[in-house]
């Protein structure tokens, strides 16, 4: 991967203070220790990558951050508030959105409707008005439709907006899922292997989208990715997990030079 522009080209971009920090998170399923005493932080506007071999606990980490899993120990601090346990609804309403490793779109719904669901928390009209589809409800639907159409344009999926997502090719589905997350106008975007299973071209597109989102909207991004080229190119800092433990944390350069990381991960997997 060499194509996507790295951040050096965008001098205007400012990394801010700490937006999210996870402190001493431990999570186990029965006897399986998915995460052991993990701590790291994410600064406002940065792109933070999480890497590690299969089963290292990367997805579990994201699931703890937005409350899908409940860690047995540790705390999560987001935007100045501290949580023993996050719940997904709370996370969403505080501006955390995400995509999933195995696409988790609403298969029976059209692209448009899928992305519209991302605006769910911003819609207000009551059930009665929705049944009548008049006045405030119609206006609200239109207003959000307009926003969603911008996202559809941005992701270049105009031609399939009315297609049920179940019928779309894999790469496009990944885009739609990103669109759904973007529709919430998140402050923190969690991406679980957004480029897995894509060809070079699709990966380049996806990289561009991720960078554009980060640049244009200032969205903070936490990203899990196996493709080292991509990680080195687009991330500001990298956390490395292995067997549920953190074995490295730093800029791409630092991580690449880290002995433990090379042994545990780079040396083995690539």
């Amino acid at each position: 991967m060499s194509e996507p522009a790295s951040h050096e080209h965008n001098p205007g971009r400012r990394i801010g203070g700490t937006l999210l920090s996870v402190d001493n998170i431990s999570l186990a399923f029965g006897g399986v220790k998915a995460l052991t005493d993990i701590s790291f932080d994410v600064r406002e506007h940065e792109i933070r990558a999480i890497i590690g071999p299969n089963g290292a606990g990367k997805s579990s980490m994201l699931n703890c951050i937005n409350g899908v899993y409940t860690p047995q120990q540790g705390r999560i601090r987001f935007d100045g508030q501290e949580f023993q346990r996050m719940d997904p609804h709370k996370a969403a309403s505080m501006g955390i959105a995400r995509t999933f490793q195995n696409i988790a779109l609403f298969k029976g719904m059209s692209v448009l409707d899928n992305i519209m669901t991302g605006r769910m928390l911003k819609m207000r009209t009551n059930l009665f008005l929705q049944a009548l589809y008049v006045g405030p409800n119609r206006r609200e639907e239109l207003e959000h439709r307009r926003h969603v159409e911008h996202i559809i344009d941005f992701l270049q999926i105009e031609s399939v907006r009315k297609t049920p997502v179940g019928r779309l090719p894999y790469g496009v589905q990944k885009r739609v899922e990103l669109g759904r997350a973007l529709a919430a106008e998140p402050r923190l975007l969690l991406l679980d292997e957004p480029m897995a299973g894509m060809n070079i071209e699709e990966k380049q597109d996806m990289c561009r989208f991720v960078l554009d989102v980060n640049d244009e909207f200032g969205t903070t991004i936490v990203l899990i990715e196996h493709d080292m080229g991509v990680v080195m190119d687009i991330s500001d800092r990298v956390v490395v997990l292995d067997y549920g433990k953190k074995i490295g944390d730093g800029t791409p350069g630092e991580v690449r030079a880290n002995k433990a990381v090379i042994d545990a991960y780079l040396g083995v997997a690539h």
Partner: protein, 358 residues
Amino acid sequence: MLYREAGQFRTSYEADQQIFPIRQDRIAFALLMAVAVVGVPLFASDYWLTAILIPFLVFALASLGLNILTGYAGQLSLGTAAFMAVGAFAAYNFQLRVPGIPILVSFLLGGASAALVGVAFGLPSLRIKGFYLAVATLAAQFFVPWLLVKVGWFSNYSASGVITAQKIEILGFVFDSPVRRYLLVLAIVALLALAAKNLVRSRIGRAWMAVRDMDVAAEVIGIRIMRTKLIAFAVSSFYCGVAGALYAFAYLGSVEPDAFNLDLSFRILFMVIIGGVGSILGSFLGAAFITLLPILLEVLLHGGAGLLGLNLSPGTPSMMQLVVFGGLIIFFLIVEPHGLARLWQIAKEKLRLWPFPY
């Protein structure tokens, strides 16, 4: 070349968000409504009205209710008839016990009562999925009719719980003939169908489908799963309740709790499956199909037996019906899980290309 959308550019999202964005569809629908409102009353016989059209509309309404719950929100229910029973008996009691209450208000309150009962039986669904829920709704199916029989108050202490619906009178106008009752049912069903269509294309509809398709993702987006499911139960049961009230007041006239049995619940489930899971139009198509099929079957069987000089035993037609229903369900689930509604859509797409195949 009749059915073309070419040249009809939808220039605004507003136009695109209409129920029928294509002009031909709008015209066809208007024609259909004209036939239903003017043509049918002029030409349909009393038999057609009372034995086919009124039950068709009532069942369509119940299917709509079940479709909201099962087709849109993904919660399978085998207790539809129980919620209809609640609607029927509640409407009866409101008429009986509240002096001067307008009949339409009674119907609405019947629906509201059913909604309450639906929510009560839906509560366990908050923690369970799929067929667990089916069992929970069976509890409603067996409990509610029993309660209505056992507690005499519900039927004003009539024998075996039979109620005889009061006459339908709105602002002094009495709906006593089949045509009048048909028109009343048509109006109510049309309005509620419109409301259902609006709901499913609004926020709540998307929330239902999201919960149906992928509940974890729905939760992560910020949808409150429990509340969304409960609203589905409430709205669905409301529709079933109103359907039940109409079943008693406009279709049968007098009805006993045991008429709202498991068989009726299954029948409505079949309408949803054959008509189209997750489709408003499908609820109507399915209701029409399942209402007409037994009649058709009867004619065919007797015709066939007559031709062959066979002697049908009395149970045969109803057993044939079981076999055909069961077979059709399996057939549709395998071949076209989106039912008649999807077939209709495919036919329209073909028509759009006609007479040029591409």
